[in-house]
């Protein structure tokens, strides 16, 4: 697990950059895309469930990823193609719209209606779309956090420090309040505990930044994306 993570500060070419550079065409790029997709199953499924029949969501999600990975190229650049998150959201929407169109086409012989500016404004202002997007971003942020914690847990398991991790992880939060009994089970001196917490936090930052860096095209955008995810978590 940890081997799959980029080194701290060393992510000059991110996975998403690889995918973008090859337009998804090469074997490496496909591999990179596949590993990116593996991590974002949950937000996509929730998004799809929100837009249609929740019972079908799992199947549709499978179908969506299968199609995405089958494709020869990434298709047209997305207005915000800088981010994998935006790309994936666009792709899911496209996928759902395609399905809708397809169903409608079966029913009444097609119909692409050119979108006017005010239509677009209306559709966007409708709120539903914006709420769905916000919810997708929120889920995305959650999955980043969750998978990063999971990475740390795996690393702890590798060194047989799972129990210690389960207690230490609370200090990932500011103002952690840990009860005395748990502190005792750690069996660490104050100094050693401080060092352990410090290391855990540092590692957590590396992991999260690494994960985010994988999904942006320019490493300089990590901070920006991080802001976006924090903001996404605040809107509910």
């Amino acid at each position: 697990m940890s081997a799959a993570l980029p080194n701290a500060g060393g992510f000059q070419t991110t996975r998403w950059t690889q995918v973008l550079a090859a337009h998804g065409g090469t074997q490496e790029a496909r591999q990179a895309l596949r590993s990116l997709c593996e991590r974002c199953y949950a937000p996509v499924e929730l998004f799809i469930a929100r837009h249609g029949n929740p019972d079908e969501a799992r199947d549709l999600t499978h179908e969506f990823f299968a199609r995405l990975l089958e494709r020869d190229s990434l298709g047209n650049p997305d207005p915000q193609r800088g981010r994998f998150r935006s790309y994936l959201l666009g792709a899911v929407k496209h996928f759902l719209a395609d399905r809708r169109d397809h169903e409608q086409a079966l029913r009444r012989g097609g119909g692409h209606i050119p979108q006017s500016l005010s239509d677009m404004a209306c559709a966007a202002a409708d709120g539903e779309e914006a709420r769905a997007d916000a919810s997708f971003d929120r889920q995305w942020a959650l999955s980043v956090v969750e998978s990063s914690i999971e990475d740390l847990r795996q690393e702890a398991r590798a060194t047989a420090e799972t129990e210690r991790f389960e207690i230490l992880k609370q200090w990932l939060m500011p103002n952690a309040e840990v009860n005395a009994a748990q502190l005792a089970t750690l069996g660490l001196s104050d100094g050693a505990r401080t060092v352990a917490i410090h290391r855990l936090r540092k590692r957590f930052r590396e992991v999260v930044r690494g994960r985010i860096a994988d999904t942006v095209s320019d490493p300089a955008d990590v901070g920006d994306e991080l802001n976006h995810l924090i903001a996404a978590l605040r809107t509910e």
Binding site: Q80, L89, M120, V145, P174, Q182, F204, V208, I230, E236
Partner: protein
């Protein structure tokens, strides 16, 4: 204890709801903030970002407003939707973060800027209603725009070049207005460009950037970011979104003038067109997406790194964009795969069609030249024969031959026409015409020296055919000139529309031409290789062709994948008279393809009827694609349905008879000249001939 937080528990640091089922019960926002701000020290400060006050907290401070809901929030402020109790109108209430006001001269700057903004009165600038300080909070109330910002609009779907171009002029107008009032926005970005439900654009946050400016020499120009809840959470982005900043704004903020806004708008336009922001090195937009190359120049000029090379005023920018948008909307080339369908881009004004009209003028001139020269030429011929009756005879024949051209001219007058870019005579065609003329000169010389031409019969036959066809050029040429002058841009569906309940299946025989066919000279020349059939039902357009379609094309096109249907004319190389084609642009799965269809009516159909038929098909295809009732139903007639077949039949018969007559006369003359030995003294006695023949035939 982490696990003691159940669903609905609150984070102790930031107060957000925390779900114990995910992220180990830790507050994800705080965790991410830890990642964002963490500097390695053990005691992480509580989130440095400003926490927007809740509605309940604000209510006592703003009794004059009924606070409805938060719209957006960022590190430096928050925006709320509110109703002004006195007037009942909706307003946007912006509250600035208190720490911003800690700067000693903030209050003064705030008041100065707000007053300047309050004087603004422009339809494309968000109006300021009120501003002030209540408690420790600075606030501004402004017009509430019911809609989205441009960022949100872009995220819902890609903007077409036409839409992107439509957005620029109103922004330019607003910028021009503000610049004339001495105010530079400094923070033009999609988040600050609001789009209301009617599609009107408004610029928000004018002057806020300046209001919030930290007056320190090293400070880089800040952003407002107040309205839309993004950015400004980490130190990294406190300096703003540099992608929209002009270079001089980044390097030397004190030197910024209105041209920085023009740069930022250039970035926005670039992003709307390509979906990306221009980096340090960026490509021209047309190299990234298929758009009019003339847009490149417009965008790149706005993005010049030196302010003096950019548009000097927003008005200039606007003029350039409008000229492009209104003159010729960025059209897409016809026969190449394009990422965006043409979506019925119609040239707004009629333009003449030199290819047809020049042809017509040439024909009329030739015909008139012959008519003028005929008496002289005829005089020479008749004088040589001493037979003046021949002159009368020839004149009558010419008149008769000219007659079939007249209905063709009348037919041309009824033809619908289409707008078309002027087409130049291709150099290849020009070369072939020239080569033919040069090559034919010796042929003509041989012909004029031949015994056939020297015989009286030969001269008469030559005069009739050449003269007749030349005279006929007059009405034909007039027809062409008339076609070139037609000003109707769309088919005048002259007959009453036949209302049909729903599109029904249709079938037609005719030309089925993949766009690639016309890319080559030989392809254009051998267009008749593309004969085929097409069937239309409520789901598919199916194509049967005698030759297989080129790779990439579908033999069965689902109607839902048809992007556009339009009518155009084939290039002159294919049909000089201007044959119409129905252009079907569709998504083949592997790209956008184009197919040209020319349904044929029947053998007697005139060009005008065939062209009208193409228009009917176009309308019918569009109706079938859109799932609506068609205005017309193409009527395929297996038998002549109108009396126009009479002239058509006449032309056909006369040409046919003329060809037979000419051939038989030629053969007869040649036969006679070979039978007749030239020197009389060498002639064998007449009685010997049959014997010799007999001998020759006896082995």
């Amino acid at each position: 204890m982490a696990d003691s937080w159940g669903a609905g528990a609150k984070c102790r640091s930031c107060g957000a709801a925390v779900d114990s089922r995910v992220t180990d019960g830790l507050c994800p926002a705080c965790l991410l903030r830890q990642v964002a701000f963490g500097t390695g020290e053990e005691s992480l400060p509580a989130a440095r970002s400003w926490l927007a006050p809740t509605l309940e907290e604000l209510e006592p401070l703003f009794p004059q407003y009924e606070l409805l809901e938060p719209i957006g929030q960022g590190g430096m402020g928050a925006v709320y939707k509110a109703r002004q109790r006195s007037l009942g109108r909706l307003v946007a209430l912006k509250v600035l973060a208190p720490e911003l006001a800690s700067n000693p001269d903030f209050a003064e700057r705030f008041i100065r800027e707000a007053r300047a903004l309050a004087e603004f009165n422009h339809p494309n600038i968000v109006t300021i209603h009120d501003f002030g300080k209540t408690g420790s909070l600075y606030f501004i109330t402004m017009e509430f725009v019911d809609g989205v910002n441009l960022r949100q609009a872009m995220s819902t779907g890609r903007l077409t070049p036409a839409q992107a171009l439509a957005i620029v002029p109103p922004i330019c107008e607003a910028l021009l207005y503000a610049h004339q009032h001495g105010v530079v926005h400094r923070d033009i970005k999609p988040e600050n460009l609001l789009l209301d439900k009617e599609g009107r654009l408004k610029i928000a946050d004018f002057g806020i950037a300046r209001m919030l400016r930290v007056e320190q020499p090293e400070a880089v120009a800040p952003t407002s970011g107040l309205s839309h809840g993004q950015g400004e959470l980490t130190q990294q982005s406190v300096v703003g979104t540099p992608q929209y900043m002009a270079p001089e704004q980044r390097d030397n903020p004190s030197q910024v003038d209105h041209r920085a806004d023009i740069y930022a708008l250039g970035v926005v336009l670039y992003e709307m067109l390509t979906g990306e922001r221009p980096g340090a090195k960026f490509e021209a937009p047309s190299r990234k997406v298929q758009i009019d190359v003339r847009l490149d120049e417009i965008v790149l000029r706005a993005l010049e790194s030196k302010p003096e090379l950019r548009y000097q005023t927003a008005g200039e920018f606007k003029t350039r964009v409008e000229a492009l948008a209104s003159g010729e909307a960025p059209t897409l080339s016809v026969s190449k795969p394009v990422p965006i369908p043409t979506a019925e881009v119609e040239a707004p004004d009629w333009r003449p069609q030199p290819d047809v009209r020049v042809n017509g003028y040439i024909q009329v001139t030739l015909g008139l030249l012959f008519l003028v020269g005929f008496p002289f030429f005829g005089g020479v011929v008749t004088a040589s024969n001493g037979d003046y009756l021949t002159l009368v005879y020839l004149a009558a024949v010419f008149g008769g031959l000219a007659f079939p051209g007249i209905p063709v001219y009348l037919d041309a007058r009824r033809q619908p026409t289409v707008n078309r870019q002027p087409q130049k005579l291709s150099p290849v065609v020009g070369f072939f015409v020239f080569a033919w003329v040069m090559f034919s000169i010796p042929l003509w010389q041989m012909f004029f020296k031949s015994a056939f031409f020297l015989s009286s019969l030969g001269q008469h036959a030559f005069l009739i055919l050449v003269g007749g066809s030349l005279v006929q050029l007059i009405p034909l040429g007039l027809g062409l000139i008339h076609r070139g002058q037609l000003k109707t841009p769309q088919p005048p569906l002259d007959d009453k529309p036949v209302r049909q309940p729903a599109p029904t299946a249709l079938r037609a025989r005719g030309l089925v031409v993949p766009a690639e066919q016309l890319d080559t000279f030989w392809g254009q020349l051998f267009i008749h290789h593309c004969q085929g059939e097409f069937f239309l039902d409520d789901r598919w357009l199916r194509i049967h062709r005698h030759r297989p379609l080129p790779p990439g094309h579908l033999a069965e096109i689902p109607l839902s994948s048809i992007r556009d249907v339009s009518v155009d004319r084939y290039p002159a190389m294919v049909n000089l008279m201007g044959l119409n084609r129905v252009i079907v642009t569709y998504d083949s799965g592997s790209g956008i393809r184009q197919m040209f269809l020319t349904p044929s009516l029947n053998h007697w159909a005139s060009l005008g009827d065939t062209n009208r038929h193409a228009f009917d098909w176009c309308e019918y295809l569009r109706a079938a694609r859109d799932g609506r009732s068609p205005a017309v139903v193409p009527q395929h007639r297996s038998s002549p349905g109108s009396r126009r077949w009479v002239p058509a039949a006449l032309i056909f018969t006369l040409t046919f008879l003329g060809a037979i007559l000419f051939t038989s006369l030629t053969l007869m003359t040649i036969w006679n000249s070979t039978r007749e030995p030239p020197p009389p003294q060498m002639a064998p006695p007449p009685e010997l001939v049959p014997q010799e023949v007999k001998k020759a035939h006896v082995p």
